[in-house]
Symmetry: D2
Amino acid sequence: MEKQFDLITVGRACIDLNAVEYNRPMEDTMTFAKYVGGSPVNIAIGTSKLGMKVGFIGKVSNDQHGRFIKKYMADVGINTDHTIFDQEGHTSGMVFTEIKSPQECSILMYRENVADLYLRPEEIQEDYIKKTKKILISGTALAGSPSREAVFQVVKYARKHNVEILFELDYRYPTWKSDAETSIYYSLMAEMADVVIGTRDEFDKLENKQGENNETVAYLFQYRPKLIVIKHGVKGSYAYTKDGQIIDGKVYKSNVLKTFGAGDSYASAFLYALSHGKSIEVALKFGAAAAAIVVSKHSSSEAMPTVAAIEALIKEQDK
Amino acid sequence: MEKQFDLITVGRACIDLNAVEYNRPMEDTMTFAKYVGGSPVNIAIGTSKLGMKVGFIGKVSNDQHGRFIKKYMADVGINTDHTIFDQEGHTSGMVFTEIKSPQECSILMYRENVADLYLRPEEIQEDYIKKTKKILISGTALAGSPSREAVFQVVKYARKHNVEILFELDYRYPTWKSDAETSIYYSLMAEMADVVIGTRDEFDKLENKQGENNETVAYLFQYRPKLIVIKHGVKGSYAYTKDGQIIDGKVYKSNVLKTFGAGDSYASAFLYALSHGKSIEVALKFGAAAAAIVVSKHSSSEAMPTVAAIEALIKEQDK
Amino acid sequence: MEKQFDLITVGRACIDLNAVEYNRPMEDTMTFAKYVGGSPVNIAIGTSKLGMKVGFIGKVSNDQHGRFIKKYMADVGINTDHTIFDQEGHTSGMVFTEIKSPQECSILMYRENVADLYLRPEEIQEDYIKKTKKILISGTALAGSPSREAVFQVVKYARKHNVEILFELDYRYPTWKSDAETSIYYSLMAEMADVVIGTRDEFDKLENKQGENNETVAYLFQYRPKLIVIKHGVKGSYAYTKDGQIIDGKVYKSNVLKTFGAGDSYASAFLYALSHGKSIEVALKFGAAAAAIVVSKHSSSEAMPTVAAIEALIKEQDK
Amino acid sequence: MEKQFDLITVGRACIDLNAVEYNRPMEDTMTFAKYVGGSPVNIAIGTSKLGMKVGFIGKVSNDQHGRFIKKYMADVGINTDHTIFDQEGHTSGMVFTEIKSPQECSILMYRENVADLYLRPEEIQEDYIKKTKKILISGTALAGSPSREAVFQVVKYARKHNVEILFELDYRYPTWKSDAETSIYYSLMAEMADVVIGTRDEFDKLENKQGENNETVAYLFQYRPKLIVIKHGVKGSYAYTKDGQIIDGKVYKSNVLKTFGAGDSYASAFLYALSHGKSIEVALKFGAAAAAIVVSKHSSSEAMPTVAAIEALIKEQDK
């Protein structure tokens, strides 16, 4: 039976307020441009722009910001039937970006009682989960209850219906209580996923120690994962398969404006390539190329590139 | 003995994010301009611009937003020795303005675990309070603990040192738990104040019923207040004195852009006039003129007018 | 018009679990006897036993313990029409007593999310307040919200209907957040009361310093109080009146079993005497005699003496 | 290498206050006898009395009740090196028993901010876990954070060191937020355990539906469990093994006083028998016999029988 969706992403949806005037501290930025943000939203947007059939499960504030987020996603073709409006007065998270220089980017996250962490397990619909080929869990959704339980409910349905489970670690500091807590839920989740993607720093959070790739993948391959991607920033990335392959992914040159959004565009293009039957090696190139494009643009969500742009960059730089 | 300050204001400090593109719903506003906000901050700025010696007691977030707020106030001449940085990770409140039309303005307040409500009674310095002639309590500071207790601590010291206590009701919905709670603390506070200023709607919150001016002032004049100002929006305002005077304040014409900030500029100019020995009648004109000027401008804090501008408008329109 | 009640008490109702085997640490006590407890409940029971018409305003847990408390009070003649069952799953506070020796008594209070602190201002009925001559506020009811606001609502109605307000400080450590908080609400409440009763230690909490009686009463007589009773344990007590009288109250000898309950029996008999037109001097004797009787008995609530027993002890020891 | 412990139990420790006068509603019970309680404590006591080497991991209140609990356990030979005193003011849970008749027993649990739910993952010592042959997780420890994370930390260390993991469901209503939450953590935990023991009602909580044994075990045998025991009260119990055996366990006659404590004595004797190389069939008899003895006695913890008493009852009733 044909599935309705290629991918459903699950988790955080927020408002990005990006410094309009940059190369200065945020205290001196007087104007901010509003974008939709949050890793699983960005990946939904990125994969949707690449032509995939995508849905989003999450909870947004029942106000102008939440309505903007939901409408924006619907406008780029994402199915928002399970993008729920919060009914208890919770807010949309805010991410203010500070771009002091291309090398010094930071974000200021406001995540007090944000709607996305109030998604409840009772709100997850088995019927919706079974309509998709893949589901992507974004790690921040595990940072608090009841969203954490909602994620485990998604996983339960996904396993029941043989939906492939992708886990994007997406570690965001301000909502976790302790490193011990992060490690516990990241490892519980990773052990149940088919594919795990994250930076080396994020895998360190998963293991609650400064780890090492070979040890990390040896641990996880005892459980369900069959593909693990570990990103090392400007040094490239590595993909590991359960049957022992190690594929070394390079990076592409870019005229860097800021570093935000690289991970989400990477994940989007990587998933697109895998879903279209490309090899892991090519998928890593797609990820790296998409990241190179996004870091040269002002936003994270709007800058998600097209397949043509990605292929052009690969062709250009692989020469 | 000469006092160091004419006025110290106490309470909420926040970030205003004002729609740059307006006459549309906020969902369609894509750029926001950042200003310092919060009623007692605006009144501190307003009175400081009018030449008064002013201090501010409050707590701001220990991040880029909090630093911006404190620096902005210091730059306009406000004493910020008791503007404290929060050390527990609380945030700055956000006020997003929506200007659909001059008649349809609304605000979206994000006030989850905001730093201003975490000012503690132990942080109030008796020495600072005794250096001022007047203290202005802004009602929102009573909306939660421990800020509520900090306000009562301020009042205790102010009474001890014969500092005049002004109470600006400044009712802001999202932080109060119930109307009963608002009414209880508004009336406790009003009974201990020398001057009470608010809109008719705010006095209704104080009384927890749709009240009527004569009854309101009869109730409050049993206690400490000697001057009560009740504002009726475009219909003007009334000042009542304990010895039975009723002064009818008019409004001035304005090319209205938005309605935000009218109350704070009104209070600033009214207090300035009283502090300079003008009659209540003239003080009401000052308030009304300042409000007329601010509603024609984009911001609340930056638009606070000068004495010359206020006097010019009065002269012009009183002809 | 004849009032239905002589006294309504307001505040904490709990379960006392008194060590059956005593003169040992609680770890070695294996059996506990159950009694109704809480200062305002004990005073309601005490005054009711002395023949006064008494009501109780408070909230009890909706379980076996709460039902026991309400039924016990009703059985001794207290009006419990406004003794409300909690509907949100809160519990009854527990007080375990430890009697190591008559000189070494301590209590272990369990007061996590107790029902009595969840009385809401909206639940206070103006009609009920206006039916009583006196109302007694017990200080612990000010320790948390919304009970704190419910107390202020009671006071508002009492002032409106000229009901005499008695404030029994009843300081109980575990529910207050800080000494500054206690001092703020104790002084706000005391300034609005007609009669204030407490130990010297409790007045120190009110003033947030080690105070001295003359200074304490000078401060409070600036406001509404007309009678202040300060108790000094085994050294006796002093009553101060606004017109300058100081009455020195003695203590009576007793075969002390434990020290719990002395304050509540003191307050009960003192109020009884005042309500029956006796002089302050005689009322102090009544209080001291009732305390002497209760400390020789095992419980606080059941041991409340009769008028005859009090008068007998006074006659005996005043010889 | 010889392990120091046969069993370490993990979870809730509390105070049981058992009605001294029974066959009446609790409102009419005026005396309570104090015992140590909590399922994993009772199982530690039960197995220790049966001669096993036992430790207990948990957190108790830093007061007379917590000290009583820890001392009582140490006195019956349990290792309490990792029975930690809470340092944040949390209390000991209270369980009041009501015995209206042998058929109508109920409990009233007070579990607001109880110390046992504040055990933190950072407090779990890998060295301690690796010293035991078996670890028993009691389900209530999963009901809240950070205790829930502490349990997952225990499991992580146990899996690393090949310690057998037993999961006793022990469902206790008042601490869970929703049935969905219970089901999620019960199933996550059960999938990682070697042995799962519970009543049919508790397995229904695990599955969040009225389930059926064959389906339950089919689900769980997909994961790690190799032995599942489902108890049906007076109708007996069933043990299921991964290799397809079903063993039908009978019940023994008893002069029932109350039904409390049956499950913990059952688990204790069952584990003892398995640990001593007896067949599952005999272990089920041990469990049933121990339960029959405990329900005829007043307490849960003190009544745990000896091996001789268990064997005598089996011999007597199996004739």
